[in-house]
């Protein structure tokens, strides 16, 4: 039986924070390499950017934006708990973080052609 601690919003927040951080750490080297292709000229960068027009890639990009905003939102919640005297209602606070991250993801979707 799953321990009750795993069914709490605080655990979900920590799990999502950790997994999103892991995903970002794995993505970063690739991201830097793609950008560094600009060293070989704008055409080199463009030839990679062309790939980003594919809908699957757009979905992946949206996923990345979501992952980054989620990691930041949940991380800010941790900083608030540790550094400020506010007492939170955990479920509400975690929902707020998820909502904010989704809003950023939506903003990306609305702006990407």
């Amino acid at each position: 039986m799953m321990p009750a601690s795993h069914r709490q919003p605080g655990f979900l927040a920590a799990l999502l924070h950790r997994l999103s951080g892991l995903a970002l750490a794995a993505f970063l080297p690739l991201h830097f390499l793609v950008l560094a292709s600009a060293l070989r000229g704008a055409d080199a960068l463009d030839s990679i950017l062309v790939v980003t027009r594919h809908p699957l890639v757009k979905a992946a990009e949206c996923g990345l934006v979501l992952t980054l905003s989620l990691h930041m939102a949940l991380g800010l919640r941790v900083l608030v708990i540790e550094l400020l005297p506010w007492r939170e209602r955990t479920a509400a606070a975690v929902s707020l973080c998820l909502g904010a991250a989704l809003a950023v993801g939506l903003a990306f979707l609305l702006n990407v052609p």
Binding site: A4, F11, A14, I81, L83, P85, R87
Partner: protein, 243 residues
């Protein structure tokens, strides 16, 4: 009828099933006592005060660490009829539902959870204004009776054997804020090492499950702030609650 699964054995063991009549206002302690007295006298479990003061009866009920004497069966099973009783998590199982709390209390000591003063009987009384922020911070955590529910609930304790745990750190924070205490430098050192307050990842299970309504998460946050201040050169180990 209640269908009750009870852990038998040590780390290796099995769940044994019993059928216990449902009674009005029954607590989980009533159930486990009835099993031990009427069904199987070899069952090992702990209780003492039976009125929510001592914490001896703490165990895991349907996946949730709680005091059996203060848990109504109705609250634990909801609309169902199944109870599952297991020993506290993160402690070595002595037998069945009784665990070894030695490591729990060793960590209490290792976190600097012991009061020490250099004052003697020749010194005047210590004056501690009850409304001071430090005293309020201490008072917020002082009611801990060391029942181990938070320790059982904590995932980081399960993942990291070095982690001192919420109860030990909560106690350390109450002493950091005790103006009569003289061992704060050593205490701050103790909670700043590997397995100290830095290991807490703010899951907040300790605060969620504490039967006394304490909030170890915020005590640990206080220790983290003290640790940060210390890293930036603050020599005053006494930290003031941000309230």
């Amino acid at each position: 009828m209640l269908h009750v699964e009870v852990w038998r054995g040590t780390e290796q063991g099995h769940l044994q099933e019993f059928a216990v009549p449902r009674r009005e206002h029954q607590t989980v302690l009533d159930v486990v006592t009835e099993i031990q007295r009427e069904h199987d006298a070899t069952l090992a479990y702990r209780f003492a005060c039976r009125v929510g003061m001592c914490g001896s009866c703490a165990m895991v009920v349907n996946g949730r660490p709680r005091w059996t004497c203060r848990t109504r069966v109705a609250a634990a099973v909801g609309s169902g009829d199944r109870l599952r009783l297991e020993p506290l998590r993160n402690c070595t199982v002595v037998k069945d539902l009784a665990v070894d709390m030695t490591r729990f209390f060793d960590k209490w000591r290792d976190a600097g959870g012991v009061f020490a003063s250099e004052q003697t009987r020749d010194d005047d009384f210590a004056v501690v204004p009850p409304s001071s922020p430090q005293r309020q911070a201490a008072d917020a955590g002082i009611e801990c009776i060391g029942c181990g529910v938070c320790y059982s609930a904590c995932d980081v304790v399960a993942w990291d054997a070095d982690y001192l745990g919420p109860a030990a750190l909560n106690r350390a924070w109450t002493l950091v804020n005790d103006s009569r205490d003289s061992r704060n430098a050593a205490r701050l050192d103790a909670v700043s090492r590997r397995g100290g307050c830095e290991a807490c990842h703010v899951h907040m299970s300790c605060t969620t499950f504490c039967p006394k309504g304490l909030a170890p998460t915020y005590a640990i946050a206080g220790l983290k702030r003290a640790m940060i201040r210390h890293a930036f050169g603050a020599r005053d180990a006494k930290s003031v609650a941000p309230e």
